[in-house]
Symmetry: D2
């Protein structure tokens, strides 16, 4: 349903393949489909190893040993576009006029399909269906004009729009690029003279690196063993950080745009209790996604926090299973309720989101079967009413239950005694950002970049959106 990619780039005075490998493991939650590393070898050639599977599976120690070099980039992929298969793994390389260009990309360039069609007409045959090929070949084309990487990147950025973090190796140099609205996260760190850019601070932590700052909106950053140089593209004076990174996607120990994810989730939980309390005995998270929110809620409510649903860590992640039926069955096989905690109790169940509703319905039934007297569901995001076009894999409106049903209808579908989502103002307040510094497209239907057929954020105000903070209760 939701997922993205993770990227890391390092320049150092020592070999970087192993640090990149460890950094990718710390970003593994951002993508489990494939992993890859490109290294600038002695003499200027770029060597790449990429394979399907987890980072641990994709690389042997021999693979790492072969990737000798002091500048490199790495990628873990979930796959928002293009089919599965190693041919879609990144980094992606092209031979250009200034030598090999390698790209590790996190995000979605929304007008890539238009460019693809336009360039086909100009005679560009594309060897893959991957949008990253469009990006990297557009860049190679700019490079042929200017021979200047920074100028070429600026020209590229002037032509594309969307959510993106690019790490480029261009002609023996390393560049990190963040889109002008800073939709996707990208941080900068340093340890012992190695400079690192990565999707999340967890990759800095595992390498013992100090966090320096976030890469800025629209910034082009060149990293060298001696430091970093910044080239800024005029940005739009506002940002559009993806709020869903905070609510679900990032690891809870990451610091995103200055905010510890765990804290943000806790504060949303507390806000949710203020907005939508209920007479309950215990607070139970859906593991692992609802845990931080449930802790904040339980503290605010001064209620016992109970991990009453135990997750089987050896079963593959729910959303990877193909087909709806398997997905339902899987909930049962992954979660085991502890009866002693639940029996005869009124339970407040906390999770980060409801997409289709089928998983939540199954969990509510698990709790009822285990003897729960009442089940009150609280969700730490507003209802998802609109697709994400900017990097999260969240198909069409048809598949989003909240796009087509009221909160009370959803409550009935999931068979809960009550249901509440955090309100938009509640969410924004708890995250500590201003409304206009976030991308809230999927919960408002108004997007920070132009999407054909959708509204722009600038044309809307928060007040006009459906009120999510209201609790819908079962009528007795």
């Amino acid at each position: 349903m939701w997922d993205k990619c993770g990227v890391i780039g390092i320049v150092s005075t020592e070999d970087v393949a192993t640090p990149i490998f460890y950094g990718l493991r710390a970003l593994q939650h951002r993508g489990q489909e494939s992993a890859g590393i490109s290294i600038l070898a002695e003499g200027g050639a770029v060597r790449t190893h990429k394979a399907l599977g987890l980072v641990d599976q994709a690389f042997t120690s021999e693979d790492l040993a072969r990737l000798s070099g002091r500048l490199g980039i790495g990628h873990v992929r979930y796959g928002t576009a293009g089919g599965r298969g190693v041919e879609n793994a990144q980094p992606l390389s092209v031979e250009s006029v200034v030598g090999t260009v390698a790209l590790a990309h996190n995000g979605d360039v929304v007008n890539a399909p238009e460019h693809r069609e336009r360039l086909k007409l100009k005679g560009w045959g594309f060897v893959s269906e991957n949008d990253s090929e469009v990006v990297v070949r557009m860049l190679a084309n700019e490079l042929a004009q200017t021979h200047n990487p920074v100028k070429a990147i600026k020209d590229l950025m002037s032509k594309i729009r969307g959510a993106y973090c690019f790490l480029f190796i261009i002609g023996e140099r390393l560049f990190a690029v963040r889109d002008p609205l800073a939709i996707k996260p990208l941080v900068l760190g340093e340890v012992d003279g190695s400079y690192i850019v990565a999707s999340e601070t967890t990759a800095l932590d595992v390498l013992g690196a100090e966090y320096i700052r976030d890469v800025e909106p629209g910034e082009i950053l060149e990293l060298t063993p001696h430091g970093f140089e910044s080239h800024s593209v005029a940005n739009e004076g506002s940002t559009a950080h993806c709020f869903f990174e905070h609510v679900y996607f990032a690891r809870s120990d990451s610091v995103l745009d200055g905010v510890l994810v765990h804290d943000a989730r806790s504060r949303i939980g507390a806000r949710l209790w203020e907005e939508s309390p209920a007479d309950v005995d215990i607070v139970v998270p859906v593991p692992d996604s609802g845990r931080a929110g449930a802790q904040g809620l339980a503290e605010a409510a001064d209620l016992p926090y109970k991990e009453a649903l135990i997750k089987n860590r050896y079963v593959h992640r729910t959303f990877i299973m193909p087909g709806q039926d398997t997905r339902e069955l899987n909930v049962k096989l992954k979660l085991n309720p502890i009866k002693r905690f639940i029996e005869g109790r009124r339970v407040m169940l906390v999770d980060d989101s409801i997409v289709r509703g089928t998983t939540m319905r199954r969990i509510v039934h698990l709790l009822r079967d285990a003897g729960a007297k009442e089940v009150h569901v609280r969700i730490t995001s507003p209802p998802i009413v609109s697709p994400c076009y900017l990097g999260i894999d969240m198909h069409t409106r048809d598949q989003l239950v909240a796009a087509n049903h009221s909160v009370d209808e959803i409550r009935t579908m999931i068979d809960a005694d009550s249901l509440a989502f955090v309100s938009l103002p509640g969410l924004v307040g708890a995250l500590g950002f201003s409304q206009n510094s976030l991308c809230l497209g999927c919960v408002t239907g108004a997007y920070p970049v132009e999407i054909p057929g959708e509204r722009l954020r600038s044309q809307t105000s928060l007040g006009q959106f459906k009120e999510a903070g209201k609790v819908e209760k079962k009528t007795v």
Copy 2:
């Protein structure tokens, strides 16, 4: 360091391979090395599929479809004896006078090596180094005398001693056997006319089965589609449930011999606080093993419980890595401290055990590097001073730091401000068993069954053991 196997057996009026598969996934925490299923096919033949890896990896849906039949057994293996490799995977089958005998075994038969040597002298060539071959061929030999499965099993049990749960397919019938001291867990359940035995209740839960009771000490249980029949071997009037199943090994949502594992762990945590308090600001668990103990401790202490160490779920389990150095490195790579929770705080760190001490030292340093003012370590088991001979993979005394060092020496080694282990009386009381119903061999050096060179439990009393409850503090 510690680990065991998991077993499940089902008789039903429908195909059992898929339920056994799901049951094995719910027992996966008991062994990740190999998985196998044996099914009694139409016509009396036994078909087996086994392979290295997790249950999900070892079986495809085609494998399960081929295993058609209404009676079967399954096994996941960690491997206490014998090398790795699929030739050591179970179930293990022999062709006997009454047809195929298949065995899934959890435990250690301590006198199997003696039988092996004795039988070699009688001309028995053994095709593997696996002790289960000794067991299953001794049974085949008994069967040739009596042609009566129950009598053969009784004869077998009269010759062996140790910790064992056997699931046997013998001549189209299914038998479950638990050793006379009930050292290893084995439970009985039922759903829709299917009867199930399994190592833990988690396997019953995932199948929607009702827990009926534990298999009794020394019991031989025959399961049929119509119910079960019990044949008891005169037991010793006492039990010796492995306390380490409660402290570490079982899943926290299992009910072991009537006790919910999560509750037992919480109570030990609370007792630990009573025995060994300290002036601290927050309670932090080592995930996942210290979590329930830390929750109990934090509640008893009325202190904030903080999950300040975040585990990377995509990194392989620490103890599977070969070599000491990798083990140390791995702690760093698996655990990420959340600085904001730790900085400037006095931390009480809770885990289930200390074996070598190297991992704990590394975690203490992680916390200090993240700014902890003090680190007080609390352990929910007494010091491990003696090897386990009864199913847990815990090598020699040399490798056990507590066998050769005082608590204060260990405190110095792990660089903690204070260190305390739960006391033996405290542990026993918190578990809710009498001292003589538990196997405490590894923390007392006195064992419930005869082990050459070691003391017997009956010759000792708890009072004489090293006092573990004492807090050792750093002298300022």
Copy 3:
């Protein structure tokens, strides 16, 4: 249809795993299902590596490096009994009273099933369906009585009957055993102080070893780095060398019991022409099995020898394909006729045998489609009328076309203009052995060892058998 195993054993003053590996490659034509090597390591342990596939696929150089030791045995398997799968790969080891016993076995012990049933009644559970387990455990049992390997082997030989070559590692010593009728081939050689036993001289050749002699009927040979010691079991004064090794199975450059296989095949071809000439223009072999016979025939006939059927070497061997239909299709896909050689010509087509007749029919049609005016088929073995119980995989009488049809009926079935098999006296004469020194069971129905329900060779004489030398022609 027909196939067996290959074995090799070496004692040396240097590591033997690599020479055994090369020897197995030179025996690869004897079995492609699995390959294995057991080596006596320092300290007396036996290490084994075995895997499915060709020798090249089963062993990496690391595998060989791990198998350090100066005494060892190797095996390639086709599989006459027991299912496929690595659990049936050899060598097979048992732990016995005198240490590890390892066995590499080529042949069939015809009364193994009786022993298996008898021993089950005595309480021996068998962990496989492989007859080699029966042999090796019977030997372990004898060893427990005598502790004397030679005596134990003699006792074993007194209880079993059949066609067998055993290579045993027993208590750090290497023994080679050939059955009293010397049905299967086994040769002895030497190079630079290494002593070698192997199924065929090709394994000696590849190692640069000198052929010393064949292992004798009923001989037990112990090999040491200093030479070899012979222990003979009283043999029956006659032999029963499998004639089919000469006709089809052995490699044409092997010397079997003193006879170069290529020469024997050529002489049969010449004899066949004398017995059954025809007015033809060219002689064409079915590659590769008919080549040597066709060369001898063409020379005798003074006719042009033309390799007019080209074999695709990249297609798997015909008889490995499951199912009759695939087998037919495969002939087409493996053989390509050269039209220019065939068109308008009368062809004499030579092959080594006809089992079902379907393959030959297809080849005859290939030739006719390519324009052959006439196709005269000549076969260098007599009609196969009876199953082989002694090591060749040649199922039941139902599957043998010659068991149930006259030569003329077969001629009609394969749509040939004429068909002739070599006569029994012709075959025996061409091979250069006396009739009573060969096993001719499959072409006479009279066997050299007792087979329940079949005649014994001693009760018959050649004269009474169906006259094979006669040519059956199409009536115009």
Copy 4:
């Protein structure tokens, strides 16, 4: 050393994946590194499956079943350029303005590197190092100009030079293209309304197809289910068929440009005897490459032809082994001499070529060790003195022994009693082509297409080349 690729394309009224699979098996000798098939599916999409290994290994029956469609192309690869690995496997696809373009390519476009550099300057980033990407993207570019496949292919051909056969799927149509000098073979056939183009007639034979004709020099052929349409590019009035296809590369049952390969090889052997006879007793081929030549030579000489070197078919092909040492060892392991044929005899040894000379030296020694009195070597190609730039993998001049040594020096190096190569006029005469219809670059150093730094064929005449027909004898 020498090798190329194989291609096949089929249009039919039925599914073509399985026929293409069978056709690729019949072309397997042209490349064993990877195999692939692209099929035009319903709706116009192109589906491709490619993998490393033999055709049998690269495709399962499920893979073929998924490739449903009535028009497709297939490829087996040896790899003349670019590294190994599945990313270099073909067919190669690009998305173009007229839909997917897929290419299966056999040959070498000699100016592809120039185009690559030129296009890089124009901003074309190349995602692989494979020259086929240059070709297919140049075509996509032409298509964007014209939208007319035939015109686009003509424009492409006007820009490239070299040896090539292209099979293209372009916008739901199938095109076959042969370079203007017809350097590489490509034939056209038909069966039951299916039209087929393939590298050799063996692929037609296996499918039961009739050979129609060779694709003509410079011809663009469009295949449809109703027949074929020809578009000819003005060719150069001459051809340059690779003579080495006849001498070594093609399968002996192929008909190349109207000549049966087996016959051509026989005639060269006969010519070689006429040019360079010797007093010998037998003629022995190096299997399999020298067989047809040796047969022709033996017939011409009226000497016995003896297959005295037996090849182990289970050992991988010599030239695939990395490193010189292994290559030498491998000769020993692959070839076994039959002593009885050789001992005391004067042997004439026939092979197709000498590249480095090391293999031949080893074979001469094998024969001497087996007792040959004299060894006279005869080679059915002239000395290789110059690299091949047109599709055969024959590195640099340094590696070609004949580029730097006289025939007598080579004779000394290989330790032969005499050595002779066929003369250039002898070769050309035996093949039955005129000198100017062949590419003889590697034996003359004069090439039919412009190669920077090399002479053009048109500037030379045969007379001026080193006289190869001379026999160099050991001076006693």
